[in-house]
Symmetry: C2
Subunit: 445 residues, 2 copies
């Protein structure tokens, strides 16, 4: 590849793997230091028709940045926090900033950017925006989609645009901020992000850890909580296989029990009603102090790492079902476990119906079949095949099935057309996500 | 127009005007009773290449549904609330439902759909979604954009799609929900809406009415409130001309004062700090009981009606500036008042920097010049020409200037291209909004 050296941008030849072992075999990896260098790289790729793929911290769980013969644009040298505005309540930063680092800096000033994917201590904010990631606080605060005010983006043609404005109320045109958020690097390379931030909440919260009889009763708690009008800040579940993995792999020292753990954080004013609901469903509940809570919160974030330490082959599901359908989903997941003679350890943002059954089968084909069947459970129950991990290559077929079933194939066609107008040469992280989903759904007509 | 009678859909010949007197001179007005009838109407228009425009309650302030020689589709016969789901926390309804009626039904079940445009007692939810309307609670709860989960839409080609899913966490493809929300009827006709709802907040709130020395000190209060990390539920301002109009036109019986009224609703825990800030800026503050508060809230909602009773010619501005730039904005508005020798009564969602200076000049040309100059103040201060009223025909030129200046003309081009792929014949509420903005901005290159 002659020419790349002439751009004067740091470049290496190396191969990579993402968190779930999707392979990345680029022509070369580049490390731009600023937007101008990103523009040069994209222009270079555009002129030559070479695939170009942005890379944050490689924590994708769906192969969203896997590629071959591509230019991989590693954003780690663009990691400046540019401005924290305490009157306008936003932070402006470059995409390579680590999410935990950003929140530490915000908290020093009394602010919070709520979404907290389990990878928060590893991931880049550019990746989190591209993936519209969720997290444990999602039940109360939503996902990254709800916190991006504006973006600077280098388009696949090399043109630079800004979408959105650095404040919340803005009606100047179609909403392109939400189009680029969650576009998984297929519409351009983000070079600057404005996030809405809020003051660290001052309400008194209580933290509860409840040993549940089983997942069904946990779903019962969540449904009754909803009926009671209680909105928790956090409502997480891990089953006992996950607890065991945390104990055996990370010396967590958690008490093991048949039915797994429900972690709840609710307003103090809701404590009595919450306890009543937990008792009704047989929860054995302890109240945690702040230090204990932080430890449990951190362990929850490391659950997938603990599972991965047990089994290198890991398929992380990310289905969502309406909270009202949780028990149906559980029933059907149990049936699939019987059918495939395998137990899927479950991590769940149970408060918003977002379940992560983990498939630890070493037989790749059977794993993929099971993966697809779990996804179809979500679709048939009126849910989604992805709540927060995105689509990448891994979930494209399932996404195609879902959107075709719930929205109509025309919706996929519109997505593909939008991809085409923004990326006319099809070079920006190509062949994945909406492109692949549309292709799969169309061939299946 | 032969043929329309054969569709068997209620049809009338009549002319209309919207709230600010934009004319609507359709070929005929139709009243579909269900989605199938909407499909028939759109197919009819598509085959013949006739403009087709949806109509909710006619409360647009920007000429968003003005048209000539068009088919006007009045949605008033599609006004069913289809489902209130108390576990999944959504309401599903048809576009013709009145917003106040919907919220009354929700409140009977203990739920709330927060956005409350001043027209809440008049507007349809289809219009509110199409316009991504805001309101008084916007400072805390955002605009309609933040509350739409999913939509059924009849596309300009007559195809029916659903975008989004009836729950919050969903990563299945590009975000088209936000694209259709706020698209002002230019991308299709909405036939069904799923809104996220929340339990009626249980925190103890206090309501304050503060007689301020002037608008500048009001801006000072808001900025200091932000610095103090206080997030109000409501922070509204009306100047004394508006108070006077409410008194003279609606017998409001409000106390008049030089500097106008600041209406605040904050958490009880923030009261002491809030009072300290109000005192610092010279506010003369009284605490209101619930009944008094509701009366003031209702009067605030009727402010524009009171002004309109004074002057039939009324241009309602809707600029947003970053809260940190409020004082600069006020200074420049005062200069424009001097230049044009006219006082603009100001209504403001001051808490989020959203100002409505109202232009009551009968000289149309001078009014339009002033309107444009006020819009440019927002653009130059890094703000927006529309926070919540949308663009329609009235603000298209200004929107073009803003997006070109802040985002780049390429952003307008992408919006226009999206319009073209979804509406290939250009029949759906044509010639306005992003189309017009792009045309104006391009000719001005």
């Amino acid at each position: 590849m002659g020419g790349i050296d002439n751009l004067g941008i740091e470049t290496k030849i190396e191969e990579r793997e993402d968190f779930v072992n999707f392979k990345v075999k680029p022509l070369f990896v580049t490390f731009p230091k600023n937007e101008e260098e990103v523009v040069k790289l994209v222009q270079y790729a555009y002129e030559r028709g070479i695939p170009i793929v942005p890379w944050g911290a490689g924590t994708s769980l769906t192969g969203a940045v896997s590629c071959e013969e591509c230019i991989l644009v590693d954003m780690k040298n663009m990691s400046q926090i540019l401005e924290i505005n305490e009157v306008d309540w936003y932070v402006r930063a470059q995409p390579g900033v680590n999410l935990e680092f950003l929140n530490r800096k915000l908290m020093e000033r009394g602010f919070l950017l709520p979404p907290d994917p389990a990878s928060f201590f590893l991931c880049s904010i550019g990746g989190a925006v591209s993936n519209s990631s969720g997290g444990m606080r999602g039940v109360k605060y939503g996902t990254f989609r709800d916190w991006v005010l504006a973006l600077r983006v280098v388009l696949p043609t090399g043109e630079v645009i800004q979408v959105g404005e650095p404040f919340r109320k803005n009606r100047a045109g179609y909403d392109l901020v939400h189009l680029f958020t969650g576009s998984e690097g297929t519409l351009g390379i983000i070079t600057e992000i404005w996030f809405r931030i809020i003051p660290v909440p001052r309400e008194t919260q209580v933290s509860l850890l409840s040993y549940m009889p089983d997942l069904d009763s946990t779903a019962g708690v969540i449904q009754d909580m909803r009926r009671a009008g209680i909105l928790p800040e956090i409502a997480e579940y891990i089953d006992n296989d996950v607890v065991h993995a945390l104990n055996s792999q990370l010396n967590a020292g958690l008490r093991e029990s048949k039915g797994g753990l429900l972690m709840l954080r609710v307003l103090a004013q809701d404590l009595d009603r919450m306890m009543e609901i937990l008792n009704r469903w047989g929860g054995d509940t302890v109240q945690l102090n702040q230090e204990e809570w932080e430890r449990v919160y951190s362990l929850r974030a490391q659950s997938a790492i603990a599972l991965k330490a047990i089994s290198k082959e890991m398929y992380v599901e990310d289905i969502v079902v309406p909270v009202s359908r949780l028990m149906d989903a559980i029933k059907r997941i149990r049936k699939l476990e019987e059918k495939y003679q395998v137990k899927m350890p479950i991590i769940a943002h149970i408060g918003d119906g977002n379940l992560h059954p983990n498939i630890l089968l070493s037989d790749r084909q059977r794993a993929e079949e099971l993966f697809e069947e779990v996804g179809k459970v979500a679709i048939e129950l009126g849910g989604s095949v992805s709540g927060e991990h995105g689509i990448g290559v891994q979930k494209a077929k399932l996404m195609g099935i879902q959107v075709k079933a719930h929205g109509g194939i025309k919706v996929l066609e519109i997505m593909k057309q939008i991809k085409d107008i923004i990326d006319p040469k099809g070079i920006m992280n190509p062949g994945k996500y909406v492109e692949l989903a549309y292709r799969e759904a169309k061939s299946d007509r």
